[in-house]
Amino acid sequence: MTARLGVDIGGTFTDLVVIDETSGAARVGKVLTTPKDPAHAVEQGIGSLLKESAIPASAVRAVVHGTTLATNALIERKGARTALLTTEGFRDALEIRHEGRYDMYDLFIDPPAPLVPRRLRREVRERLLADGEVRQPLDEDAARRVIGELAAEGVEAVAICLLHAYVNPAHERRLATLVREIAPQMVVACASEVVPEIREYERASTTTANVYVAPLMSRYLEDLERRLAEQEIPGQLYIMQSSGGIALPPLARRLPIRLVESGPAAGALAAAQAARERGEPKLLSFDMGGTTAKACVIDDGMPLVGREFEVARADRFKKGSGLPIRVPVIEMIEIGAGGGSIARVDRMGLLKVGPDSAGADPGPACYNLGGRQPTVTDADLLLGYLDAEFFLGGRMRLDHAAAHRAIEEHVAQPLGLDVTQAAWGIHRVVNENMAAAARIHGIERGKDLRSYPLFAFGGAGPVHCWQIAHILKVPRILLPFGAGAMSAYGLLAAPLAFDFVRTGRQRLDGADWTVIMRLFTEMEADGRALLARAGVAASDVAVARIAEMRYLGQGHEVEAAVPLGNLSAESLPMITASFEAAYRALYHRLPQGVPIEALNWRVKVAGPDPKTRLIGRPEPRRAVVAGSVRPALTGGGLREARRGSVRAIKGARRAYFAEAGGFVETSVYDRYALAAGMTLTGPAIVEERESTAVIGPAGRARVDAGLALIVEMTP
C-alpha cells in the first residue's frame, strides 16, 4: 500500500488530506493552526489522520505542503531584521516606488512602508551600465565596512540589489561572498538570482521580501522535516509554490518568496485537474468563501500563471497598494465578496455589498454572535438557499429572525422594498460584483469568459454559481464533490511539474533559431533531470513550450504555444499563426504589417497526473471509496430523467427563483446519496456538509463519474 499526504496551513485551520493510492480513497482532517509553532499542528494532524485511516506512516510516499506562513509574516511584519545593499545613489528606490497613488480620489492614502527602513538601506560604490559593462568597479573595502556595520546593528538578513545586475551579476555575487565571509549568521540573497529581470524597484521589493521571510521559513521547514522523520514517514517533502509548481525543500529555503500564494494556488490546481480529467479545454475556477471570492482562468488544464503579484496591500482590493512581488504566481482575481460581506445603502440610494465583511466574528446577523449588519449569508438564508438547521452539516444553527431583522432595518426599509426583494437584491448585487471582476480579469488577460464553464467551490461558491453562470453566459457549471475542502485536495491534484523561463528578445522575422533551440533544450534538460530525481520515468514526462509575444512596440505579451521538436525558420508560419489566433481572439483585429517579437521563452516539464482520482467523502467518520456509493434501485413510475436521484431527496423547502416568479417548492438532495450517472432537474438544492449548491428551475444536472455535479445552462 502507498499513500500521499497533502497539508495546507491556513490562518485558522490546517487542512490535511490523505489518499490511499491503491484504493483511491480520500480522507480529510482539520486541526487548528498553531501560529507560534506551525509544524506542531501539522504533526498532530498527520498523526491522527493516519491513525483514523489505518494507513501506516511507512506507506506515505510523498507529503505535499502548502502554507501561508510567508504571506502572514509579510502582512504582520514579523520577518527578520532586514537590510538592503544597493548601488550608490539609489537607496531610496524602495521608498520612491513608481511615484504614484493607488487611489486617485482619496487624499488620505499611504503607500505600504518598505520592509527595510531607510537607515538600513546602505549604498556601495559600484556601477554597471545597461549592457552589463562595468563603469565603476566594486569598492570592496567600503563594502566590508558597511557589512560590518550592519552586522553590528543586529541585522539578520540582507538583500543585494544593484542596478543592471540582472544583466551582469558579478558585483552582486561578490557582495554576497563578502557578506558570508564577514557575517555568516546573516541570510543573504542577490536580486539577480531571485528575480533576474529589469526594473529596480520590483526587483528590490521582491528580494527584500525573500530574505525578510527566509530565516523564519528555513527554521520552519527544517523543523517540519525533522518531525516527519520522527514520525517515520519515508516520503519526500514537496513544497507547493505560488505558481502551482512544486519545489524541493532546499529551493524553498532559498526562494521562500515563491511560496506566498500557495494556499489559493492549490484550489486552482484542483480546478485544473477537474478540467484535465473531463477534457474541458477551458474552465473558470470560482472559489467563494466567507470574506473573499477568487476566480482563476484554466486553459488546457493549466491555470494561468503570471508574474505580477502584490502582497500585504494597504487596501486589500486595490491594485498598487501592496508590495510588488515578481515571482511566477497563478493569476487570480480576489474580490471582496463572501458570505460575510456586508450589505448597505449608500448615499446615492443604491444597494452596495462588500468589500467590508463581518468575517466569522461577529459574523452574519443569523449567526447570532453579535453581528447586526445584514450579510450575504443572511440573504441566502432568507431566500431559502441555506438550511438554518443544516449549516456546516448542522454544527451551527442559523437564526432566521435575526437575518430578517437586519435586512429589513438596513436594506429593505431604506430602499422601500419588502424583505424578500431586499434579500434577492443582496444576492444579485454580490453576484454582479463577482461577475464584473471576473470578466475584467478575463479581458485583461485576453480571455473571453463566455466559453469557460464555471468550476464552483468554497463554502459559498455553489450557492452563488447559478446566477453568476447566467451573468457570465457560461455553458455549464461543475460542482465538485467536497466543495468545502478543495484547497487541500488541490495539493495532491497537481502532477509534479517545474516551470522554466528564459528571456531572449527576438524579432520573429529575423530570429536566431539556434539560440532559441538552445534555450528550450537547456530548460527541458533541467526539467527532466529534476523529475528523474523525483522518480518520474522518462516516458511519463510531458513537455510544453510557450512563447510570450507581442507586436513590436506594444507593452503586453500574448502567450502562444510553440511546436516541439527542432525549430527553424520553417517553424515561423506555425508560430505566427499561433500568435495571431491568440491575438485575434482577444482584440478582434490584427495590426497590419507590424513585426512580431518574442520576449520570453517558457517550458513546463510535468510528470503524469496523479493516478488516484480525488473522490470520496471528505469527512473523517464516513470516508467512502470511489464507486462505493451506489444508487438504490428505483421503482417504476419515476421519470427516466430522475432515475435514482429521487432516493437522494431528503426533503423540500421553498426557495426563491426570480425566473420562477418567486418562492417555489424546491427539492433538497443529499449530496452523499448522489451517485455517478444520476440526473436531476432544477429547481434543486444539493446539500453537503460544508457547502450547498443551488440549481435554478431551468437547470439540468447529472452526476459524472468523478461525482461532480454537471449543470447544463440552457441558453
Binding site: 539609489f90 520612491i96 531607510r118 445603502v345 444597494l351 475584467i440 485583461e444 512596440g553 507593452g555
Partner: protein, 567 residues
C-alpha cells in the same frame, strides 16, 4: 469673462450646456421605462462601469505607447445619444475627467447623429475642444444597433508624437506645436480615411506607434460597443437615455447634497507659479451657494507668450478634480457630477486661453488648480485638504547625438512631494494631482544614453509642521555624447515654493543645476557640454499645522531615518 459654456470660437458648432442636443429622432424614454428599482439600477450601473473598464483594458493592452499602458494616461467613457457621459473608466488622469465629456458634445455638433453610419469613427486633437494640447487624441466610435446609432464610446490617449516641438513650453503659437486634426472621420462606413492617415504619417516622427494607438482606441470602442449591446439586450433596454437620466439624476442630486452640506460662503485664494519668464498668478474665488459651487478665476494672469497656457476644458477638468477630492471623492464621474459646478475664467486669461496661443505644456499651470482650490475650500473644510505640494509633474527631456552619432530624444517624468494632510504627513516623491508615474532608472538607461548617478529623496525638503510636507527628490544624470546636447526641464516652484497650511512652513524650492550652476531660466532649453552633470531637485510639499505641535515620536523618526537633518 465667459460663462462655463464659453463662446463657440472658430468651430461655431458648440452645443449650449443647458439646452442638450435632442435631435428629432431621439425618442428617449418612450420605449423603455427607466430602471427606477434601486437594485436593477445598481446592477445596470455596475454593468455600464464594467463595459467602460473593458473598453479601457482592451485599449491599454493593445497600445503601443508606454505612457498609455503603464502610466494610464488615457480616459475612456460611454455616452448616450445626446452626448451625455454616463460612465467613465477608472484610469489615472484627472486632466481628462470631464474634458472628454465636453469633447463629445463638440463631436455631436460637428457630426450630428443623422449623418453617422455604421463603421464611422471620429477623431480630433483640437486642444480647445478636448484636453488642452495636441498630444491628446480623442477618438469616438458611434455604436449602432442595426442602422440606428444608440450610443458612443470615446477615449483620449496621450499619443507618442504629434510633430512640431517635442512637448515643450518653447512654442509661441499652437501651429508650432504639431499637427492639428479638426473633428474628422478617421473611418467612414468602415473604410479608412487614407488622405488623413497619409497626412498623419507625414507629420509625426513615430507614425507606426501613433497609428497603432489609434487602432488600440478603436479596438477599445469595439469591445465596449459589443458589450453594451449585449447588456442592453439582456436587460431589454431599447434606449440608453432613460438609464442615463436615472444615473445622471442620482449623481447630480448626491453632488448637490454634498455641496449643500458645506458652510455657505465665499472663499478666495491665490497661488503663484514661476511661469515661463514671469510669475503667473492663479486667483480663485469659490462660492458655496445653496447646492451649487461656483469657481471663478477672475484676477488670474493673462495668457503667457509661451506654451504654458490652459484652455477652458482643461481648467474645468482640474477644477472639477480639485473640488471632487475634497467634497465628493466617492461620487462617480458622469454628466450629473459636473452640473452643480459653475466654472468661469476670463476670456484670454491664462486659464481660458484663446487660439492660436501655445498650449503644449498646459499641465505646468493646470496642475496648480487643485492646490488653489484646496486653499480656498480648506477655509471651510480644514480637515479634508492637503497643503500645497510640488504641483506639476516635471518633464525632463534631452536630445542630441549619442556616441555612435545617432540622434536621440528622450523624455521622462518625475514628481516632488505632496502637501501634508490634515491628519498625516505628505507623500514623498509622489504625483499629485497628476497620476503620471515615474520611469525606472534601468528603463531610462536602456532606452537612452543617460546615466543616472543619483535618484534619491531630498532630505529636509518637506515643509515643517504638525504634519510634515512630503519630500522632494533629486535626480542627477550625465549623457553620453561627444557634442553638447539639449536639455529642457518642464519645471516649476523653483522661485515660489509650496505653501504650508494653518501654520505649516513651505516646502523646499525646486532647482535645476548644470555642473552645480543654476541657469538663468530653468524652463528654457539648455545647451549642455558633454559629460556635464545635470541635477534636478524637485520641490517638497508644504507642512500642515504648527511645527511646535508635532508629535515627538515623529520628530525622532525623521531624524533617525534622515528625512530631516539635525541642526
Amino acid at each position: 469673462m465667459t460663462v462655463r459654456r464659453r463662446s463657440p470660437g472658430k468651430t461655431g458648432r458648440v452645443a449650449p450646456r443647458r439646452a442638450p442636443l435632442r435631435p428629432p429622432s431621439v425618442k428617449a424614454g418612450l420605449t423603455a421605462p427607466a430602471p427606477t428599482n434601486p437594485i436593477t439600477l445598481e446592477i445596470c450601473w455596475n454593468r455600464l462601469v464594467g463595459v467602460v473598464n473593458e473598453q479601457a483594458a482592451a485599449l491599454q493592452r493593445t497600445s503601443f505607447t508606454s505612457i498609455v499602458r503603464e502610466a494610464g494616461d488615457l480616459s475612456a467613457g460611454v455616452f448616450d445619444r445626446r452626448g451625455f457621459m454616463v460612465a467613465q473608466a477608472v484610469t489615472g488622469t484627472p486632466g481628462h475627467i470631464n474634458s472628454m465629456a465636453l469633447a463629445m458634445k463638440h463631436f455631436l455638433a460637428a457630426c450630428p447623429l443623422e449623418t453617422l453610419r455604421p463603421g464611422d469613427v471620429l477623431i480630433t486633437n483640437d486642444p480647445w475642444l478636448t484636453s488642452g494640447h495636441l498630444n491628446d487624441v480623442t477618438i469616438c466610435s458611434p455604436i449602432f444597433r442595426g442602422e440606428e446609432c444608440i450610443a458612443f464610446f470615446a477615449s483620449t490617449c496621450h499619443t507618442a508624437d504629434i510633430g512640431g516641438h517635442v512637448l515643450s513650453a518653447e512654442a509661441r503659437e499652437v501651429y508650432e506645436e504639431g499637427l492639428q486634426i479638426p473633428i474628422m472621420k478617421l473611418y467612414e462606413a468602415g473604410r479608412p480615411n487614407e488622405a488623413l492617415i497619409a497626412i498623419i504619417r507625414a507629420n509625426t516622427r513615430l507614425p507606426e506607434m501613433v497609428l497603432g494607438d489609434f487602432h488600440a482606441q478603436i479596438a477599445g470602442g469595439a469591445v465596449g460597443g459589443e458589450r453594451l449591446l449585449e447588456f442592453m439586450a439582456e436587460f431589454g433596454l431599447e434606449r440608453l437615455e432613460p438609464l442615463a437620466d436615472e444615473i445622471i439624476g442620482r449623481t447630480e442630486r448626491t453632488m448637490r447634497a454634498a455641496i449643500r452640506a458645506l458652510r455657505p460662503g465665499v472663499y478666495t485664494n491665490e497661488a503663484t507659479s514661476d511661469g515661463f519668464d514671469e510669475p503667473i498668478t492663479i486667483r480663485a474665488r469659490c462660492e458655496i451657494r445653496g447646492d451649487e459651487l461656483l469657481v471663478d478665476y477672475a484676477g488670474s494672469s493673462p495668457a503667457s507668450r509661451r506654451g504654458v497656457n490652459v484652455v477652458m476644458n482643461y481648467t474645468e477638468a482640474y477644477t472639477t478634480y480639485g473640488v471632487k477630492v475634497i467634497v465628493s471623492p466617492d461620487v462617480p464621474n458622469n454628466e450629473g457630477a459636473f452640473r452643480p459646478l459653475r466654472i468661469t475664467a476670463p476670456t484670454g486669461s491664462i486659464l481660458n486661453v484663446q487660439r492660436p496661443a501655445a498650449v503644449a505644456a498646459r499641465h505646468i499651470v493646470g496642475h496648480f488648480l487643485p492646490h488653489v482650490i484646496a486653499g480656498a475650500l480648506g477655509q471651510a473644510l480644514p480637515d479634508r485638504v492637503m497643503a500645497e505640494g510640488s504641483a506639476n509633474i516635471w518633464g525632463i527631456q534631452v536630445s542630441g547625438k549619442d556616441f555612435a552619432g545617432e540622434p536621440f530624444s528622450y523624455i521622462f517624468f518625475s514628481s516632488g512631494g505632496t502637501g501634508a494632510r490634515a491628519i498625516k504627513d505628505g507623500l514623498s516623491a509622489t504625483a499629485f494631482p497628476s497620476g503620471v508615474l515615474g520611469t525606472p532608472v534601468e528603463v531610462i538607461e536602456n532606452l537612452s544614453p543617460l546615466i543616472v548617478e543619483r535618484k534619491c529623496l531630498r532630505d529636509d525638503s518637506g515643509g515643517p509642521g504638525k504634519y510634515r510636507g512630503g519630500l522632494g527628490q533629486t535626480i542627477a544624470f550625465r549623457v553620453r555624447t561627444r557634442e553638447p546636447f539639449a536639455a529642457s526641464i518642464l519645471c516649476d516652484r523653483t522661485v515660489h515654493p509650496a505653501a504650508g497650511f494653518r501654520g505649516g512652513g513651505p516646502g523646499a524650492r525646486g532647482a535645476v543645476l548644470i555642473d552645480g550652476v543654476a541657469p538663468a531660466n530653468p524652463k528654457a532649453e539648455q545647451l549642455v557640454p558633454p559629460g556635464a552633470l545635470v541635477e534636478v531637485r524637485l520641490p517638497g510639499g508644504g507642512g500642515y499645522g504648527l511645527p511646535a505641535e508635532r508629535d515627538p515620536a515623529l520628530i525622532a523618526r525623521d531624524l533617525l531615518e534622515g528625512y530631516v537633518r539635525g541642526a
